[in-house]
């Protein structure tokens, strides 16, 4: 085996395609950023609604969350990519948006991440003592003002550890965009080893992109650790 895998000629092949993989890395990073951002924009309000919202809205949000958390991510990507543009729905005609693989993948990963992030934020919000809300309401702030100025800044700090998990999952799950041909890291890896005569380079290519995912994950987690320490409330929480 050792003779077949990890040959120097295959490593050279990988090295000579570094720019090709770099572009894939950029796509992966961009997709992670757009998905996490969408997930945050959807997830924080969902988490807040699950704690503070009226019953009706809470059950709607709860159901949406269950559906998105309960569907395999590949299914979501495929359904959104092939499902959104079908003629019966129109190509989202009012907006005249073309559903590109990148957009479909962002929607799938982002909405699912929102469903998971909502639980991270719900837990963080619930961990903040009720007195914080009462203190804010007692000086005449509305519920929304209290959430924005008192609950949100504290909940965000407490969400960082949970968010680190979510970040890691989304980063690695961007690879499912492979199913709809988006030229991210995994798709590009396959493009390389499927070239005629390069079948021997499968392991080298896959190990290389694994290392790239690993470096991205570790580097970002370290950064988030620092952020967590830096913005920790002096003296700890009440």
């Amino acid at each position: 085996m050792a003779g077949i895998v990890l040959q120097s000629s295959d490593w050279l092949f990988v090295a000579s395609n570094a720019d090709f993989l770099l572009l894939g890395t950029i796509v992966t990073v961009l997709l992670t950023i757009t998905s996490l951002s969408l997930g945050f924009l959807a997830g924080f309000p969902m988490g807040a609604i699950e704690v503070y919202g009226p019953d009706s809205l809470r059950s709607v949000v709860g159901t949406v969350g269950v559906v998105f958390r309960g569907t395999p991510i590949v299914v979501l990507v495929v359904v959104l990519y092939f499902g959104l543009p079908i003629p019966q729905l129109g190509t989202v005609p009012a907006l005249d948006i073309q559903v590109t693989p990148f957009l479909a993948a962002t929607l799938a990963l982002g909405l699912r991440s929102g469903a998971y992030q909502s639980q991270v934020f719900r837990g963080a919000i619930q961990s903040i003592s009720e007195g914080q809300m009462e203190g804010a309401r007692s000086i005449g702030m509305s519920k929304l003002q209290a959430i924005r100025h008192v609950i949100f800044p504290q909940a965000i700090r407490r969400s960082i550890p949970g968010f680190q998990n979510e970040f890691t999952i989304v980063l690695k799950d961007t690879s499912v965009a492979f199913a709809i041909g988006l030229a991210e890291l995994l798709t590009r890896a396959e493009n390389l080893y499927l070239q005629p005569g390069r079948g021997t380079a499968v392991m080298e290519v896959i190990l290389t992109i694994t290392a790239i995912y690993f470096v991205l994950t570790v580097a970002t987690n370290r950064t988030l650790d620092r952020l967590h320490d830096r913005y920790a409330i002096p003296g700890g929480n009440e």
């Binding site: 007195g131 914080q132 009462e134 203190g135 804010a136 309401r137 007692s138 000086i139 005449g140 702030m141 509305s142 003002q145 100025h149 008192v150 800044p153 504290q154 700090r157 409330i233 002096p234 003296g235 700890g236 929480n237 009440e238």
Partner: protein, 243 residues
Amino acid sequence: MSLLRLEDVEKSYGTEEVLHGVGFEMDTRDVDVIVGPSGSGKSTLLRCVNRLTEIDGGSIFLDDEDVHAMDENDLRRRVGMVFQDFNLFAHRTAVGNVTLGLTEVLDLPSGEAHDRAMEYLDRVGLAEQADSYPAELSGGQKQRVGIARSLAMDPELILFDEPTSALDPELIGEVLGVMNDLADEGMTMLCVTHEMGFARSAATTLTFLDDGRIVERGPPEQLFDDPEHDRTREFLGDLTEIH
């Protein structure tokens, strides 16, 4: 015309009735102290006034205006509250705790809000701790920030919900000192407290609440020295012994 008037206020939590028709009036500059055994409904009564708790029956009037017809945020801008557990915003400094309501509720520009917050922190003797976070302050300091936060909103009335009950004994004095100063300056205060010394020296009216009913209400000397009801004598006698 009274500043605050309660008429036949009733409140239940589930099947448990906590307030059975409580009514009284207080005027501007009054310092009204409510005492009573735990579970007598004192805190609930206080929370009904600024609608942190909604009443089930009766009415409450602020300046002859039914508080239930008012926007609750407007009501709370006019009626401040100081909590037993302080409820300071944990992520904001002492001065940040005071400015938040000024910028967000009263819409003051941030420079002006800061100046005003410093003025009130100075008034409670905490100008030097302005940049400390709540977790870096002692209980007595936290409560004084809580009072400054409420005071800075320029309320017509402040509700004090057992402001010294969570404090170590040696820290109670500094909070009572601030409350005494406020009383002297003519702040209208409705206080639930077990501090009999404060009740005797600062209160204009003392109310003994038991089992959700007013047992006796009058000048503090009367309740302390010549109560009409044995229950009042018993309770105040016990408390005075302890404190």
